[in-house]
Subunit: 210 residues, 4 copies
DNA sequence: GATGAATGAGAGTTCATTCAT
DNA sequence: GATGAATGAACTCTCATTCAT
């Protein structure tokens, strides 16, 4: 599946160089945005942390908002790729789903500051750009849709097709919940306990009689 | 339970007047923050929308961040009071829980822009102030903790005590989910369908008799 | 005759204060623009020379271009008022015209740097604003139209009505010429010689008795 | 008569190449300056429109102001050469003068945007460079001085020698007037009407009894 | 208690120019 | 001789906050 990515014009011609510099920009900006927020980070700080001058920064982007988009996109790409890496597509759909869920929550835990970043700052993107970012997220939910459908097909998961999307969204939320409500949840559970419990709650209903 | 509220110094003596003016400020600021975000709203706009001058605004607050705190606090107060109003504490704990859940999701739906506001802007608060805001939210979760405990006591809910808090948090998340993932969920469900489905998923496991 | 003037919004409410501050701005900016040109003058220089801070400057204008407009308008107002002051409306139209021409060239001479300013910088104004400035100038030409018509009426000037406007424009140009071609003309003539000669050339044709 | 031209250093050795590249630069820059003004045109735009890179541009000039000088000079050269081409030096001085005047106004009309350019932007040149540009213009006025003297010599023009230069300057101004006051004059006259009228006014006085 | 004019640090962005390749 | 990535000083404009009235 090919997600569309917004193309940001650059004054520089060499595509390899653009990619390399934008990677530098994203790495620097993620850290700054996570710690200070988008609005309190200045373009000069981004440039300095990226290792070049403010003028050079603007050779690779057109506005500060472009940096935010690059950051959001990079985060989503990383989440999805880490998730897909972690999944072994052998076994029943149900088994794969359990594994995927575990992996997903772990990834979200490891990347929680960056996930928060997206939720808190994406609203500062221009409307059109925001749509690209939200579209990316839909792509991640799609991973779970596919796994659940597989489970239905092989009989390991019992679920009406019309609930598949909601279930995938629920799963996304389980991950986001661990991120958003960290401060509340960490008082009561470790990552492992939380994952176990949520898997139990979730799969209790859908797994075929065992 | 009495939640602590941060006290904001004012140059004005009369407490009645302070309260009245701060209500004006909050009403004006909520609208502005919802539509433009905290950072893009200016103190001048807040003052003008509040119906007085910038000088007067600063008689009742010490900084722009104070306005954000007042707004977040007011939103939490409204959520909790609307929720408590909607709950009829007659019947079994299970029955009350169902009702509370329905009400909660409805309240979150009606106040979704303001809920989003808190999640997106609260990070701009000074650390100490942020703790007050998060504490408030804990208070709302507490409503559900109480109901679940009542259900356990009267035997209508079957749940280990150690899972009560997680369940309450899960419920909070169901509401937040409807707000955060609106754009995804609205494609597939109405508010009623979503509520029904989530209640089914959630109570399936915990209700005693089925 | 009431010329329209572009109204520039101000954040300050007191109209007297606005007028006073804008006079300060114009006085400071005229000097700066004359010596450095519009583009090479910075808003900070304008503010400093006006006697207040950059922030205060922007309480009275919305953009740097507004300053340019204020300057152009003030210059035109001064030209017209100096011209009208100098004219004694007694005597025949021909006599008044001679006097007016003399006065006009003298005024243009005295204000030559400011006249140049308009011709060189007005193009930097937004199109709509430029129209106001050009309209002002038309108003000055109108002074001569009126005088010539009076001369035709009283029989002291012989001219077809359809040439009146061209003659008025010619007169404007005589003044502008002295400004624009200063560097060439000053080598050969004093202000008085130039005026005498041009009056002779111009009036030779139109005066009734010779 | 040989006018001096400012010599601009180049990093490139080959004079043919320098000339060719500078012609490219001038052609590109004239269009840009006419439409956007000198200050709002960037060196990048000049380079791109010239058909080469910014680095190459700076091989042939030392600063952006050099481009402005090249442009002003090229415009003057074109005006003078077009004017000289149009003049047939047969007949009486008076006859030649009429023809030259007609041609001059026509040339100014055709090149009005470029003439305006010089008057509005030349002030941005360094003082020393500005003198070269103004000197060029004097050269054009000289064309008329020569013709008038010829007319005096052959008896077709009646004029005191000491007024010759002023008359030549007046003629220059007639042309410039058509350019500068276009917006006012075009309402009332076509190019032909304007030319006829001005020739009549001007020559009325100087032509020997007819 | 209310006003609003004044402040100025600091923001995002531009662009003429350089120089290593 | 040609290239174009890199530079950073300098620009216009904003806005939270203060304080004299």
């Amino acid at each position: 599946m090919t997600e569309k990515r917004k193309s940001i014009p650059s004054l520089v011609k060499d595509p390899k160089l653009i990619e390399k510099r934008r990677e530098q920009i994203v790495e620097a900006a993620v850290n700054l945005f996570v710690h200070k927020g988008f609005h309190k980070t200045t373009t000069r700080e981004i440039a300095r942390s990226s290792g070049f001058s403010i003028g050079t920064l603007y050779e690779y982007i057109e506005s500060k908002e472009d940096v935010l988009y690059l950051v959001c996109d990079a985060i989503h790409v990383e989440i999805e790729s880490r998730l897909r890496e972690a999944i072994n597509f052998n076994g029943t759909g149900l088994k794969i789903l359990k594994l995927a869920l575990k992996s997903f929550i772990r990834v979200m835990d490891q990347m929680s500051d960056r996930v928060l970043l997206i939720y808190q700052e994406a609203k500062s993107l221009p409307k059109e750009t925001l749509r690209f970012v939200l579209g990316r997220e839909e792509g991640i939910a799609q991973v779970f849709v596919e796994i659940i459908r597989r489970g239905i097909a092989d009989g390991s998961i019992r679920m009406d097709e019309k609930h598949v999307k909601l279930m995938a969204d629920n799963i996304m939320v389980l991950g986001e919940m661990w991120v958003f409500r960290r401060w509340a949840l960490h008082k009561h559970y470790t990552l492992e306990e939380y994952t176990e419990k949520q898997i139990a709650l979730l799969l209790n209903e859908i797994s075929v009689s065992e």
